[in-house]
């Protein structure tokens, strides 16, 4: 017994005692003093000492109900002379309390067991069952236990029937129904077994049992939702199956409720008007944004005629979603899988996500599209000026979508259209992380068409927001690029090249990607200016270009786009060694990609459409020359850049030529000093200009050992070692 249940029990007991002071005061005296633990204790204690209990059954200090319950739990006492008398007395006690105040879940648990275990006679069982009226709830376990007694066959048919009727009447009081839902098969089998309903749902049961109203009710309910399964003709005329007068428990339930909770403000019928029970909810009848997973609605099934019970029961038909638990199951049943009645439910089910990922049925995707578009729009807290209270819910919803997108490695079209609609209204703050992730999952499409829809709006926010926002945008643009590249690289190998009507050729696709890269180039140049060449920002920008420089080799796509000068020179002149290192790495990868492309061009002359223009090579060579000139040969900016010597003189750096080489470069000078201190710790002065010749090579090894791997790759690939300065 969980502590929670115990609390309920004791509360119920207390309530019992409070409202019944005009009734059985002698039996209940002193009960109010009992607290939770005491009552529990005394119950246990009683079990240990049965003799005491039976001997002093009418002990005023004890709860008569508890004694009675214990009595029934123990079973009939064979030796007792006045057996029937005691039994009758306890039964009366239980009945009185139950009909008046109802029973706590524990009481019901015990007594239900007693009634179905067949310890007592059928008449007693019937009386016990009839007074199983809950004060609050009925625990699901109790019902499951009770059902298990039915299997043992200890109780008579009439008791079973009564139990079923009780179960139907009390159904709404059961606290959970998961376990019970699993028992339906058993219920119907059991009913069949008892010839309550015969094998082919025919009239024989009615012959044997007569058309009992409650049976008719069950059958008609069944017929309602699965008309093909029940061939019995049931009177279509008005009929009250569970008549109020006939329903043993209904009035009792009402009375108990009224006594325990005070009279309802209005008659019961009115109280059940949905207007009072459910105040207008933001969401119709659903407690979560994403619909629950249900197999296709039965309405589709009932359209199909000629379906028999055996068809239905044999699994020739479709495979119910509720049973889908593992990937192998999915594979075995993929041809006959029942689809959810509301496609939105797939978001919470990874197996079904697998399914919709490979299914070619357009209507499945359309259903998901419509549902997701509308839900996003309705739930979005800024799009419809919704209440900001629901912000958390919306964030969670977006997280679920993003998880699904990551799982599928593909964006949803609905999210794309949602971005179109909501981005112009976004404040750049609300759900920022989620929103930017949605951007990175925009499905591949024509960039110039998308620019006014997404990127122009994003740009406005970008320029007016903090550096952290800018960094996040670069991060998500990097992911967007990566997603597009992955999609294109796999798609190209699966002919036909593209199933989007927007881009029909590889050239068109490459154009779109290159436009994205150029857009980011423009964005990053401007951002660097706005943020005073922030190193932090530059890291994010270079991360983007780490993807860009490797497109040809990593994704096997014919595209090389270089970074704009604003980024290149900012990185080259950066004070931060890790930026310089990253730049070197990127230059090294550009070189490898361009070399590979050149090689391919020479090999296959046919694929001329994707030859890179000589401009790309020229641009790269220009950057390379600048880098080698600065870092290695100490002849910086010999081409294309002229600085008036007077200006340099004024600035006090007339001798500037070597001031950007590996030793003097502001990002590396500290390395040079450390190198000297480490190698010649006894040296009196630190003279960095001494790093040349052999020392230069040692210095290089030192730099590499300090983790400047990008520099190492760059120097190994781009500089011939004959030219050590």
């Amino acid at each position: 017994m969980s502590s929670q249940k115990r609390v309920k029990y004791s509360q119920a007991q207390k309530r019992t005692s409070q409202v019944s002071n005009s009734y059985q005061t002698n039996l209940l005296a002193g009960e109010e003093k009992e607290d939770l633990n005491d009552s529990k204790h005394s119950l246990k204690h009683g079990q240990d000492n049965p003799a005491e209990d039976y001997g002093h059954a009418d002990d005023q200090g004890e709860d008569a109900l508890q004694i009675a319950v214990r009595y029934f739990e123990k079973g009939p006492v064979k030796t007792s002379q006045s057996k029937d008398k005691i039994l009758e007395k306890h039964l009366k006690t239980v009945e009185n309390v139950a009909w008046k105040n109802g029973l706590a879940p524990e009481g019901i648990d015990i007594l239900l067991n007693v009634a179905l275990s067949g310890k007592f006679g059928s008449a007693v069982n019937t009386r016990i069952l009839k007074c199983m009226i809950p004060t609050t709830l009925i625990s699901e376990d109790s019902v499951v236990k009770a059902v298990s007694w039915l299997c043992v066959g200890k109780c008579s048919g009439s008791t079973k029937v009564l139990f079923y009727r009780w179960l139907v009447a009390m159904f709404d009081f059961i606290d959970h129904k998961d376990q019970i839902n699993l028992l339906y098969g058993f219920f119907f089998a059991s009913l069949q077994d008892d010839a309550l309903v015969s094998k082919n749902w025919t009239t024989s049961c009615i012959d044997q049992m007569g058309m009992q109203p409650h049976l008719q009710a069950l059958l008609s309910l069944y017929k309602f939702f699965a008309p093909t399964l029940i061939s019995v003709s049931l009177p279509a005329r008005k009929k009250i199956y569970f008549k109020n007068s006939e329903n043993l428990w209904k009035t009792a339930l009402f009375a108990v409720r009224q006594r325990n909770h005070g009279p309802p403000p209005e008659p019961l019928k009115l109280m059940l008007d949905p207007a009072q029970v459910r105040p207008v909810k933001r969401k119709w009848n659903s407690y979560s944004v994403i619909p629950a997973l249900n197999s296709s609605s039965c309405s589709k099934e009932c359209g199909k005629k000629g379906m028999t019970l055996s068809d239905y029961l044999s699994s020739n038909g479709s495979f119910p979603l509720e049973q889908l638990k593992s990937f192998p199951q999915l594979l075995q049943n993929i041809h006959c899988l029942e689809l959810p009645s509301q496609m939105g439910a797939v978001l919470n089910n990874s197996l079904l996500l697998h399914y919709i990922n490979c299914v070619k049925d357009e209507s499945i995707l359309l259903r998901l599209y419509h549902w997701l578009s509308q839900t996003l729009q309705e739930e979005c807290i800024w799009y419809k000026m919704n209440n900001y209270e629901h912000g958390k819910e919306f964030t969670n919803f977006l997280d679920t979508i993003i998880r699904a997108e990551c799982f599928l490695q593909e964006g949803f079209y609905s999210c794309e259209t949602f971005l179109y609609k909501s981005l112009p209204l976004w404040d750049g703050f609300c759900c920022r992380s989620q929103f930017l992730q949605l951007v990175s999952w925009i499905p591949f499409s024509n960039f110039s068409e998308m620019k006014p829809l997404v990127f122009d709006h994003l740009g406005q926010l970008f320029f007016t927001s903090t550096i952290y926002f800018k960094c996040s945008v670069f991060q998500s643009l990097k992911e967007l690029l990566q997603n597009w590249l992955l999609w294109l690289s796999t798609d190209i190998h699966m002919k036909p090249v593209m199933n989007s009507p927007l881009e029909t050729t590889l050239g068109g696709s490459m154009n779109s990607v290159s436009e994205l890269i150029h857009y980011v180039g423009w964005l990053s140049t401007t951002a660097m200016r706005l943020e005073n060449n922030s190193t932090f920002l530059l890291h994010f920008i270079l991360d983007f270009y780490e993807k860009v420089c490797d497109i040809y080799i990593n994704y096997n796509l014919p595209l090389v786009v270089l970074f704009p000068p604003g980024i290149f020179y900012s990185a080259l002149l950066s004070l931060d060694s890790s930026i310089l290192n990253q730049l070197c790495y990127i230059m090294h990868r550009y070189r490898n990609n361009l070399t590979a492309a050149k090689k391919n061009e020479l090999v296959q002359k046919t694929k001329s459409e994707f030859n890179f223009s000589s401009k790309t090579y020229q641009e790269f060579n220009h950057y390379l020359t600048a880098m080698v000139g600065c870092l290695w040969t100490s002849k910086p900016f010999q081409k294309g850049l002229y600085i008036n010597p007077e200006v340099l003189e004024k600035a006090g750096i007339a001798e500037y030529k070597n001031s950007l080489n590996l030793v003097y470069h502001p990002a590396l000078l500290s390395y040079a000093v450390s190198f000297l201190l480490q190698e010649w710790p006894e040296g009196r002065t630190v003279n960095v200009s001494s790093i040349r010749g052999k020392k230069w090579n040692w210095y290089l090894d030192y730099l590499f050992s300090e983790g400047l791997q990008g520099l190492k790759l760059f120097i190994r690939s781009s500089i011939h070692h004959s030219s050590v300065p």
């Binding site: 199956y241 059940l272 207008v280 509308q374 079209y413 009507p501």
Partner: protein, 346 residues
């Protein structure tokens, strides 16, 4: 929404077939996406709409049913296409929906089925309620109470009514496959709880989605202009506008009623293109009203929010409530509402 991009004067079917050619081989989903893109990306060339013409109801309509729809206040919803809805199963749907309603209303009590619960649900088509032949048939759902007395009075009381329609819905019809039925506009009259139950049932059964359809001030101005432009034999009500000024502690409402003939005269003075309404004309019409008001009360109505428009044709509230008064222009009013609904579900 096509009508934003293409002049209304182009016959609809030719516009759609052009679209079709463009998208040969394209899937419905791609068409859908393309339509959204188009709609969001291009600032529409100043839109033009037809002035609603005299009764465009198809001849096979049921006058009694049409009359039933008039003079009632309807709450508007947009609705995504219904999956596997079939007009041949309406009887079946009545049965299932009434069972569902009974179950919903009985929540918290022991099971009771059958006639103990005194309601009945009916589905019926609204013949002739369409703009073009391609539009799917409109249909009506009603919840009726059954009188408990088995007396001669067999008239059932209508507890709740809702109807679904699609008037000139080509732009939506283009973008779905045949498994779907497009009735993007849903109108409900009756307790909101019933709307919720019926809506929930539809959502569960046909995998669709209902969203409340609000009408913003921009669209209300359009309605004001289009409805003022309608030729009326006889005016039933004054033309009235309601503006709301958000101020504390209580918002201030400004009501502005004009004699309908004066409104029509004003419209005629700003109206140039015969048979059509343009954005320019709408703006001009509203500006004239504003300046007139300002001259008298020194209040700039353009700085407030238009929340309601009532004319002899229909009246509409920004909350998404509408009352159609004039039988003649029923289809015209619904066509614009369908357009707004499609815009919302795009």
């Amino acid at each position: 929404m096509d009508s934003y991009d293409t002049p209304e004067s182009t016959p609809r079917h030719s516009a759609s077939s052009r679209l079709k050619d463009y998208f040969i081989g394209a899937t419905p989903l791609q068409k859908r996406l393309e339509s959204v893109r188009k709609q969001t990306s291009f600032i529409p060339t100043p839109p033009r709409r037809k002035i609603p013409q005299c009764s465009q109801l198809q001849e096979d309509n049921d006058p009694q049913k049409v009359a039933f729809l008039l003079n009632k206040q309807w709450t508007l919803y947009s609705l995504t296409p219904l999956y596997k809805f079939s007009y041949t199963n309406l009887k079946e749907y009545s049965r299932l929906l009434s069972a569902f309603i009974a179950a919903e209303k009985q929540k918290g009590l022991a099971v009771e089925v059958g006639e103990d619960f005194n309601i009945k649900v009916t589905f019926s088509t609204l013949l002739g309620m369409k703009g073009t032949q391609r539009d799917p048939e409109a249909f009506l759902v009603q919840i009726l109470s059954k009188s408990q007395l088995p007396s001669e009075n067999r008239e059932h009381k209508v507890l709740w009514t809702g109807w679904f329609c699609c008037i000139f819905g080509d732009s939506l019809l283009e973008t779905v496959s045949e498994d779907f039925t497009c009735v993007p506009l849903f109108l409900a009259n009756g307790a909101e709880t019933n709307t919720a139950i019926v809506g929930t049932w539809f959502q569960k059964t046909f995998d669709c989605y209902f969203s409340p359809l609000a009408i913003n001030a921009f669209n209300l101005s359009w309605m004001a202009a289009m409805w003022t432009a309608c030729k009326m034999d006889q005016y039933m009500a004054a033309t009235e506008f309601l503006w709301s000024v958000p101020c504390s502690p209580q918002s201030l409402d400004i009501s502005y009623a004009i004699h309908p003939e004066d409104a029509k005269a004003l419209w005629d003075s700003v109206h140039k293109t015969p048979g059509e309404v343009t954005q320019e004309e709408v703006d001009l019409f509203m500006d004239c009203l504003y300046s007139h008001f300002h001259r008298h009360f020194k209040i700039h109505l353009s700085a407030t929010r238009l929340v309601r428009v009532s004319t002899s044709v229909a009246s509409a509230h920004t909350d998404g409530k509408i009352k159609i008064l004039c039988h003649k222009y029923l289809i015209g009013v619904l066509a614009y509402l369908t357009e707004l609904a499609i815009f919302q579900i795009d």
